[in-house]
Amino acid sequence: MRYAQYAGDAVALAALAVFSLAVGLAINHFRAEPMPMLYQTQEQRLAAQLDKLIHAPAFEVTPADFIGLGQFRSIVNSGSAVIIDARAEPFYNDGHVPGALNLSREDFARDYQRLSSVLARDRGKQIVVYCSGQDCHDSRMVASALLSLGFRRVEVFTGGFEAWSRAGMPVSRK
């Protein structure tokens, strides 16, 4: 008699456990970001995030549109876009377009994380990237990286800092 009771309770307990697991799986399935079935440790998750950042510049795949000096100047003056300086930090500190943020190709992951809150806030805004001059590639690479990170309106000012300063436009120093 007793044993039958214990066995019955054990079966009920097992059923409760199975039902709970089913409920948990169902809730997870309908979550906006379901948790993967194989657990990823905190270290693995951080590595995946960094990987995502570092491997982002697929610049051949997603070329950005180009704009000239006249258009760039009116965009800077209107303050309607996010201006990105893709050169290395010392060049940026030495002189950059007023209001530009330094998101360098060289330290992209580090700079991106530093700027992520600003960029996330202005996600829908137009982004214009420049580098040193006509022949540099950093602006195209950073623009492509931003496109592959999900930013939609990314353009490259081809003349770069050289064309900007030669036209006698204002320059900010850090």
Binding site: D9, L16, S20, L21, L25, I27, N28, P36, Y39, T41
Partner: protein, 153 residues
């Protein structure tokens, strides 16, 4: 039904109090964890007991289990008391294992990350679980006895 003696009345109220408190604790623990299974998974992983493949199923299944077991215990279902007892027995064994290995773990009992992981804290959590285990077992035995009495066994 014969009138209750003093001792029996005391036991009956005591049992009700245990059911409400322990069942309430389980309901609360499950409810605060159910929205963040990833945090719970990190806590489970920190115990260094389960293989990676079992961490996610446990992190997803444990909160609903705690909520259901807690609700059943409050409602006075014998299986609810058994479920709480078995769960706390497993929690206690897990804490005993980490304490024996000298690993301080984030318990994750009530959502995790609320208190820094210390061995002293883990020892207190082990003692708390042992108290809950004893209380849940007492309710289970009392419910089993009451059932058999009703059936004249």
């Amino acid at each position: 039904m014969k009138p209750l003696g003093r001792t029996q009345a005391f036991l009956r109220w005591g049992e009700l109090a245990i059911r409400l408190v322990v069942g309430g604790v389980f309901l609360y623990a499950g409810a605060v964890k159910i929205s963040n299974p990833l945090q719970l998974a990190d806590s489970i992983w920190s115990f260094q007991i389960l293989p990676r493949a079992l961490v996610t199923p446990l992190a997803l299944g444990l909160p609903p289990f705690e909520i259901l077991a807690g609700a059943m215990l409050v409602a006075g279902w014998r299986v609810g008391a058994l479920a709480v007892a078995v769960a706390t027995a497993i929690f206690s064994a897990a804490f005993a294992s980490t304490l024996a290995r000298g690993i301080a773990v984030d318990c994750g009992c009530f959502g995790g990350g609320s208190a820094p992981a210390t061995l002293a804290g883990n020892l207190l959590e082990l003692l708390r679980d042992l108290v809950i285990l004893a209380a849940a077992l007492a309710v289970y035995v009392a419910r089993l006895g009451a059932r058999n009495e009703r059936r004249g066994a």
